[in-house]
């Protein structure tokens, strides 16, 4: 048994009637890591979370926590015995209990003094010790969220599950809180799985991210790799912005495009002479007045430090380019651009 691995999902499936929500999904999470399931709504990510929690039954596969089997199609360890904590989308704070009592709710096996000490300790960690006597309805959304985290962490669960924890907060608070919660989790050396549809949240919180689509994890990787080395069209499209342009394989590891030739690892099965799609991120295309390659501004989105330009090449093809915002060009104006790619990603034509 590998002592490092905390959570193992082996080939798990779940279906409602004919509808396969989770489809032979496999995942491993190490102790102390924060994992994330990222995907559009309906991709099955919340169901995976609920399977780990034990709210739903598996139809195939097995789930192991600490190397111990907790769920198979035939057996399911009750949720309350799995030593997991969970933070819900609606926080699910007990309306009849104050902040302190909410936090202490799961500490019923401790003696009274210890319970109070541990609850206050957790409230300190999330910065809400002053609000201990308040009731949930007296708190702001962000404060309620922090209480939910404190309550879930108080019994020192082996694994913390967070279900779209920031979706009810406004975007400014969401970003700040996701970093804050990450620090709290790291300070407690907690292992956690987050579920979200928001990639910024995923990037801010998680060590490793699995992009989910139609009940399977398309790619389990770091944020950097998901962005720069997506393994599928879906991941390329779902994570970050970008366009796919036509390319033609000219040599075993070289592709020709409207923007010139470039070196590239080809997807397996693609031969010389065949057509491929090349992924171009906005940061792959650099604004350079000296460049001979020119493109016309079709659309611009001011983003503060940068401007995201949509540019039209002479061939009619459109690409995106992220340019520092002091380079302010008018619509229709032609500007010089240049490619700067570390690693070119190509997909075979569908």
């Amino acid at each position: 048994m590998n002592n490092k691995v905390l959570l193992e999902l082996n080939n798990i499936s779940q279906a409602y009637g004919d509808l396969r929500v989770v489809n032979h999904l496999t995942l491993r999470l190490d102790r102390g890591q924060i994992g994330c399931l990222l995907g559009p709504s309906g991709c099955g990510k919340t169901t995976v979370l609920r399977l780990i929690a034990g709210f739903e039954r598996l139809t195939a596969g097995e789930i192991k926590l600490n190397g111990v089997e907790v769920a198979t199609p035939a057996f399911s360890l009750p949720t309350e015995k799995r030593r997991i904590g969970m933070v819900f989308q609606d926080y699910a704070l007990f309306p009849h209990l104050n902040v302190f009592e909410n936090t202490a709710f799961g500490l019923h096996q401790l003696a009274k003094a210890e319970r109070a000490q541990r609850a206050m300790e957790m409230l300190e960690v999330v910065g809400l010790a002053d609000a201990a006597k308040k009731y949930p309805h007296e708190l702001s959304g962000g404060q309620q969220q922090r209480v939910a985290v404190a309550r879930a962490l108080a019994p020192s669960p082996d694994l913390l599950l967070l279900d779209e924890p920031f979706s009810n907060l406004d975007s400014d608070l969401r970003e700040r809180l996701s970093q804050e919660i990450r620090e709290v989790l790291k300070s407690q050396n907690a292992t956690a799985i987050l579920v979200t549809h928001d990639q910024h949240e995923a990037f801010a919180m998680a060590d490793e991210i699995g992009v989910m689509h139609e009940g399977v994890i398309q790619q389990w990787d770091t944020a950097y790799n998901l962005y720069h080395q997506p393994n599928s069209r879906f991941v390329a499209d779902f994570v970050g912005k970008g366009v796919l342009i036509d390319g033609k394989v000219t040599e075993p590891s070289r592709v020709m495009t409207d923007l010139g030739g470039m070196a590239c690892d080809l997807p397996s099965g693609v031969k010389v002479g065949e057509a491929v799609d090349i992924l171009l991120r906005p940061d792959d295309i650099i604004h350079d007045d000296a460049s001979e390659l020119q493109a016309a501004v079709v659309h611009k989105a001011f983003q503060g430090a940068d401007i995201l330009y949509t540019l039209k090449l002479d061939t009619g093809r459109q690409v995106l380019s992220l340019v520092p915002s002091h380079h302010n060009h008018k619509l229709g104006e032609k500007i010089g651009i240049r490619l700067e790619i570390d690693h070119v990603i190509a997909f075979g034509k569908p």
Binding site: A53, G54, F55, P78, T79, E80, K81, R82, R83, I84, G85, M86, F88, Q89, D90, A92, F94, P95, H96, F105, G106, H108, Q109, R151, A152, P155, P157, L161
Partner: protein, 540 residues
Amino acid sequence: MGVSRMLRDPWSLAALFFATLVLVPVLVVMSSFLHPVQEVWQHLFEHVLVDLLWNTLWLVLGVGSGTLLLGVSLGWLTAVYDFPGRRILSWALLLPMAIPAYVFAFVFIGLFDFTGPVQGCLREVFGSSTWFPRIRSTGGVILVMSLALYPYVYLLARNAFATQGKRALEAAQSLGHSRFSGFFSVALPMARPWIAGGLMLVLMETLADFGTVSVFNYDTFTTAIYKTWFGMFSLDAASQLASLLVIIVFALLVLEQLSRSRMRYTQAGRHQENNRIALAGWAAWGASLYALLVLAIAFVMPLIQLVLWAYGVFGQDFDSRYFGFLHHTLLLAGIAAVLTAVGALLLAYAARRNPQGMTRHLVRVATIGYALPGTVLAVGIFVAVAWLDRNLLQLLQPLVAIEAGMLLQGSVVIMLVGYVVRFMAVGYNPVDSAMQRMPPSLDDVSRTLGVSQLTMLRRVHAPILRGGIVTAAILVFVDVMKEMPITLMTRPFGWDTLAVRIFEMTSEGEWERAALPAVTLVLAGLVPIIFLSRHGNQNE
């Protein structure tokens, strides 16, 4: 959810049970057309039915307009404007709810009838030929019922105006409307679903009313049902009359559902107290005077008269018989309150566990009894139990030593079933809103915190639901205390309650002797209003 799965879910079965309790009396009454009693029906049709329909129509139109006029105007004034005494009046204008309409009716007649103190006083001053409008008339019933029932419209209209009225008015003014035209073009249409909801409650109470129209000798379906049953001893003809009333009520119910479906809860706005339009000068005093006048006529005056009468007969009436009435009233109300609260809890759990499908419909049916007039329920349940009595117990007779008729005679079962059906909605609403504070994620989170199901019931469900259950029990308790037709028509011998006593005394014109039980009922009726206003204040 499939039917077979539903039958295995105990909560759904409970919903099915309570829905059946509602449906059986309705079906029994409606099926009476299958075997009409020719001669009685002929008599009714020729001499009574047309009058009944006209009387009902006038009553519905009159009380509807009266309560709208009073309720909307008072609601608008107290929600949007500020004037002397507004704070207290805004709450006090609900007080007439504490006086059952039939109590208000006999006090009103006692005060203003020919032999009453008001007319006597006028004759003293202006001579014996002084003209005074006839009190026991269509106008009189309409006036009394409008004054007794306007709080339903007032409450809903006020809340609607308070959350959206001021802002709507400002929007209208910014678009060039005067305040006056802004009210009619924006504020009133916006509040229409709520006002319609209040109006529907009023009209259902009007159609169901038995006590008030009896006092006025104003024949409607409810009194006709009573007279046909207990005067002509024709339960079948009474059922047929009841079925007509059911049809009218159902038409109204359809309208209500339509108006409800358009009700969208806006953000329950926290209306700021200082955000009102301050009235000045004659407008301010006019508003105060108007509200005060309604309050005086609909609450203060009848209460004073009742207390005076009760004081006069106290020595004579405050005896063991009074305690007998009180004892029966409290006992019936207590049992009905517990049964209804338990039923409401089962229904609310059924709705929570099965948010869609058949069970949801069953819960809706089970809570629609508030629309069924007590007279209809009395007839329907009586007939159904009588049938059970005849058929079922005859079958059982060889096995158990009970005689046919035992279930009916000396049994309070019919009354209790009637109460539970009629007041289930009253009990269900507070329990259900407590249940709404408990989303399913609360159960999930309890389990992730290592708590077993039983502990969760104790530590989470019980404390959250407790308030709603207690409120439900209290509201039902008070409603059953005031209930008249079911009690009157189905009580076993010797089970007279305060309401029955009031009916008997008023049908002999002995207003004073009805006063002591009436005061008791009014005091009980104040309890839910205090609840209501406390709840209202929490929202503010």
